[in-house]
Subunit: 326 residues, 2 copies
């Protein structure tokens, strides 16, 4: 469901409408069917919305029907006005999805955007989806956020930090941990037997031999060397401005970036609509559209479903690859 | 000329070969004609190279001929091996170009890449071309580096700094100075009567109201407000990852960035071959290809002339706009 006052419901309905023509994998919602029906009516969307009692019931629905596993109570939300009163239902939707995926009743979960400020008011204590899933699933290593579009996968080693704190937060160990999770996921989730990881430098011109910063020599190069010594195809650090053009993108399967905007600028410059957020290193498959709740346009029917559609396709693809993995 | 052991000569010859078919504006080289002839022979390039005594002589040359204003002495260079012995000639070529442009004998100058390390050995004391031109021309304000491709112009406020030093180096005053030079150049050099400047944030998510860094609120927003109070169409700070996709690029004429890679990542991601470096705020017109001397491929004939060709076209376009300006 995600935040019910945001665009989640609209893009879900648009994805359901597109499901047949675009051959989307089977998916169902965890939400309030009445809320989604009202939303579809308001959008003039000709989609049939049917409550289901269990995930398996989706198979029996007529083509073009969106199956909805109902939350316990009706969800009452005003587009553009998130309220703490729906926060328990937002959290319940995530918990239900995780539980279904854990017991194999769903092959993965796709989370619509949440409004963190509202969840905090209701006592939610995690910085975001990724950390909450880490809390629910307790993986051996911290989960890692990957952003993907067609032809480019990026992973930031540091994420939500002020730019001034980035250099001081980089550690050889955190680069190693992140890189290993990424390499494992490229092999298992993306079926790339010998994954190639390119590592971005932190400083302009990759530090110009130390003249423009010490981090390449002291932190990034030793991390790359340690990964290569383990037999991984890891290269860099490369000047970040030369790492994302079409020719460069062909030389690696994912780019490990040192900070948020270094990863997100090239990705969103190339494709602003279809980015997918993927959580690596979890026992279950989890993807998400790479945008927020877009409260400013919620209820207008304007929101694009492309990122959600890509997230649904990516989740199914990862699940297939995991099933096929040795 | 630029560094004679680099790819400058090759791309110059390629540009001369392309001049007729691509309707390039008239240009001439300041170099050693014998060196260029030997290079053209080696490349199997059918281009006629003729010494000229003065810029005006170019008009009398047959179509397809590259006019060369000779340096005083022969230039002896080995591709890939820059030497301090040619450094005085590299500097002389720049000085001659500047002098010709100052007295109107040329409408602008295009500088091929130089090898700074070799110039330093010979006693050159400037960090690069831009600063050297500032030294020669003494503009009222420091010159500003713009990078441009079709559909995107970017200007970094800080340039060659370690990433860890960027936040501490930002000042309201330096943003104002840089923005004013850019706005003036957009009007005069690019013939945009009401230029629109978009300003990038420093921190991820534009600092999220201070949670991810104070610089937006303390430095960038006040600078934007001051520029708007002067009547300029300046907007921001915008999260940098949402500023460079196709839709966003249509909303401004140039993007003011806070650091090197923030400006260069989107530009080189979108077009790695055709970037042009433009020095704003000088009395003369100066452009340059946006790449280095490429010593590793010098002499092989592989280097692309696209960036140099774009630099020649851009210089001519700026000169035309300056002549037409009120």
């Amino acid at each position: 469901m995600g935040e019910p006052a945001g665009i989640g419901g609209e893009i879900l309905i648009k994805a359901a409408l597109a499901a047949r023509a675009r051959h989307l994998p089977t998916f169902f919602a965890i939400d309030d069917p009445e809320r989604l029906r009202a939303l579809a009516d308001q959008m003039g969307a000709r989609v049939s919305i049917e409550p289901i009692a269990a995930p398996g019931d989706v198979a029996g629905l007529p083509e073009g029907t969106l199956g909805v596993l109902p939350l316990e109570n009706p969800v009452e939300a005003v587009p553009g006005r998130p309220s703490a009163t729906t926060a328990p239902q937002v959290i319940r939707s995530i918990e239900t999805a995780v539980a279904l995926a854990r017991r194999g009743a769903a092959c993965g979960i796709i989370t619509n955007p949440i409004q963190k400020s509202v969840l905090y008011e209701a006592g939610f204590e995690h910085p975001g989806h990724t950390e909450y899933l880490g809390h629910l699933l307790r993986p051996a290593q911290p989960p890692v956020m990957m952003l993907a579009i067609e032809g480019l996968k990026v992973v930031p080693v540091t994420v939500h930090l002020p730019l001034s704190a980035v250099a001081g937060s980089l550690r050889i160990e955190s680069i190693l941990l992140t890189a290993k999770t990424v390499l494992g996921a490229l092999a298992r989730d993306f079926a790339i037997p010998k994954p190639r990881l390119a590592v971005a430098a932190l400083n302009p011109h990759a530090g110009e031999g130390g003249a423009l910063g010490p981090e390449e020599g002291k932190i990034i190069q030793p991390a790359v060397a340690a990964l290569r010594a383990l037999g991984h195809d890891v290269r860099g650090p490369y000047p970040a401005d030369t790492l994302f053009h079409a020719g460069a993108r062909e030389t690696y399967d994912a780019a490990l970036c040192m900070y948020h905007d270094q990863a997100l600028i090239p990705l969103k410059t190339l494709d602003f609509e279809r980015g997918v957020n993927i959580t690596l290193g979890l026992s279950i498959v989890r993807t998400s559209p790479d945008h927020g709740t877009a409260l400013d346009i919620a209820g207008t029917g304007q929101a694009s479903a492309e990122s959600l559609i890509a997230a649904i396709e990516t989740a199914a693809s990862i699940a297939r690859n995991r099933r096929a993995a040795p």
